[in-house]
Amino acid sequence: MSTVVNFHKVVAVAGGFPVLAGLDIEIAKGEIVHLRGSNGAGKTSFMRVCAGLIPISDGDANVLGFDMRDDRRSPRRHIGLLGHDNHLYKDLWVQEHVEFRAAATGAEAGDAGAALRRVGLSDRLWSVPIERLSAGQRRRVAIASMLVGRPQLWLLDEPHAALDHEGRGLLDEILVEAASSGATVVFASHERDLSKSVATRVVTLRGGRLMEDSGAA
């Protein structure tokens, strides 16, 4: 099982604050890791460091074979990041936005339709400006935009938050499907019970460091 993410004593600083303070973690291909921890524990920062958006100031970090000290940009094309925000162009129509995201990663425009159906958005909504959608629907469009890029490493921050029950079921299916097709998934979530259904492993962070690790499934 090749390692996708390998952190050793990683310290990262953002906005003059040590968001990660000596984090050790190793994630193998195909795992679905559920990140738990209170606010400020470092969940979001960990994902942004994996995505190369935050530089590391100490320790060693390796993502998808790239050493994050030297080259933070190259792995990004293989990584999908979904933060608290949805990264949507609110003026565009649903279909236009997802097609743009597809084209940006070299996928076919046709994939957009498939992705939108996969997240349960009926084609009636495809020609509606994103601005007019509900939070849950927007979250689904964001997930579809990520699905269409077929990333090797999925980083999702509180993805279940805005979704209704049906949406969460769909999301879990998508995550399992992605992991089985060779991708690796890391998602952060507050709710405790979620970890039962999908995650192959639960990791708890506190103070920018690893507290508990339920170990590989």
């Binding site: 995505a51 958006l53 935050i54 530089p55 933070r72 940009r73 990004r76 094309r77 990584i79 990041l81 933060g83 608290h84 925000d85 949805n86 990264h87 949507l88 162009y89 609110k90 003026d91 565009l92 129509w93 236009e96 743009f100 995201r101 084209a103 940006a104 990663t105 070299g106 400006p129 890029g149």
Partner: protein, 222 residues
Amino acid sequence: MLREALLIARKDLRVEWRSKVTLGHVAPLALLILVVFAFAFDANARLLELGAGGLYWVAVLFGGTLLIQRAFDVETEDGNFDAFRMSAIGAPSLFLGKSLGVFFQVVLLELVLVPGVVLLYNVRIENWVLLLAAAVGGTLAFSVCGVLWGAMAAGLRVRATLLPLLLVPVLAPVLLAGSRAFETALGVRAEAGWTWTSLMFVIAAVHTAIGLGTFGFLLEEG
């Protein structure tokens, strides 16, 4: 590279098409500026005719700066800047794409301003070809510089005030050259408008080269 740039430009133009900010807000504002100039110069026809070339470019500069602000607000709202930086499209294509997007929107703006100047300041366009070339040169230089500095100020809390401060000194030569070239095209002056126009294309070329090289750096908010 070009395919990706066109992709970005098309997206920007579609965002504009859906939100109608340029046509709905900025173009009328630029027209309003032409009117306000007349108040400032006390509707002195001779003065307005003489200054038409220059006032035109001041209006473009003002409206254009708002468009640059808008172009990057679109990229930074709703966490889009992360997606912009995570995008598989390389920095040079992002730069070209955004510049193209801004270029067409400023052209849109000018399609409103040229008739505005002709009607409000009753000037006759003697040399259409020169006017067109100068307009394209100036807009190209404006878009390229604008996107370069727009990225510099993107996402910063103080960008609304910082962007004009960074942009205007760099665009001063474009404003200068544009005004002289337009004055020649409008027959108000006899100098070689073509040389001023070529200067604008040089400025555009220089900043495009810089942008292609440094845009990646500018995105690294870190």
